[in-house]
Symmetry: C2
Subunit: 141 residues, 2 copies
Amino acid sequence: LPSRDFLETRIEDYIISSEKVAHVQLGNSAEHALLVLTKTGYSAVPVLDLKYRFCGLINAQRITESILGMNHIEYERLPEIRVEDIMQTDLPLIKINDRFQRALDLLINQNFLCVVDDDGMFMGILTRRVILKQLKKQIYQ
Amino acid sequence: LPSRDFLETRIEDYIISSEKVAHVQLGNSAEHALLVLTKTGYSAVPVLDLKYRFCGLINAQRITESILGMNHIEYERLPEIRVEDIMQTDLPLIKINDRFQRALDLLINQNFLCVVDDDGMFMGILTRRVILKQLKKQIYQ
Ligand SMILES: Nc1ncnc2c1ncn2[C@@H]1O[C@@H]2COP(=O)(O)O[C@H]3[C@@H](O)[C@H](n4cnc5c(N)ncnc54)O[C@@H]3COP(=O)(O)O[C@H]2[C@H]1O
Ligand SMILES: Nc1ncnc2c1ncn2[C@@H]1O[C@@H]2COP(=O)(O)O[C@H]3[C@@H](O)[C@H](n4cnc5c(N)ncnc54)O[C@@H]3COP(=O)(O)O[C@H]2[C@H]1O
């Protein structure tokens, strides 16, 4: 049964590490980001800089919202909008040595959490799927 | 601590009822669906028929995928594509008298579950957020 000990578990073993995480880079266009989201099938992905530091999150909603003109959706502008102009940046981040307790609190309001080190380097993500699997496992033990 | 009794809880009190759920209707265009997704900010919403029966799910990925041409994204085709042509239909559904155990199992792989009655009428949704809040509450009790 998920006990409070379970909440003390380190998140480290449960993160999807950065090389497995689909992402876009600072400087990429909104059109490129839309293609990445469409081809990977993820509803949101991280935006990283050239040094692989975490910068923000991009999703299709922010892309479409940026081109909603008065009378029509201005698709022709997608190549000229950069992800840094429209990404979400006010996000809670977690560290590799954080515990499940903090992750659970934050995953109530987020689909996934980005994990960074002390220099802001992107380490990976912790998803709701992973935490739900662990919670289920705890109940059945 | 979430016990197996907790898993026997009925989902009924936890669903977001249908009148609060953003959705689109059979016959709507992909363009209309994209506007609904963009304005509500949800990454996926249900598709209902005129009798409010559940038909499928639509998201931005399926919309964009449907217009990925050889050389460019064919936005001009959006008004002529209908949601029924592109929605996801192979989905697990839950009933109003189902228990948390079933919901937890399914929410490991889905962001949310659509709740229907025996006639397929859409009753509402059960989200990962709601189940995570309940699991957290159980741990702290
Ligand atoms: N290719 C696939 N294969 C199998 N199942 C899939 C899948 N794509 C999505 N799902 C399922 O759908 C859920 C929602 O995905 P979504 O893309 O909205 O939201 C995702 C996405 O925005 C992000 N994410 C997950 N894995 C990622 C990755 N490898 N790269 C980039 N972003 C990822 O984290 C969110 C939550 O993911 P989570 O796993 O909790 O929950 C996922 C997972 O249960
Ligand atoms: N307007 C808002 N205000 C506050 N928080 C918000 C929000 N929009 C999204 N969120 C947060 O982001 C999570 C992911 O939302 P998403 O739109 O990808 O995925 C959503 C969406 O596809 C669907 N959904 C939730 N509420 C809905 C509603 N009222 N109408 C239609 N679809 C809904 O269920 C999925 C999971 O929702 P869940 O609540 O577990 O998880 C939500 C919630 O924690």
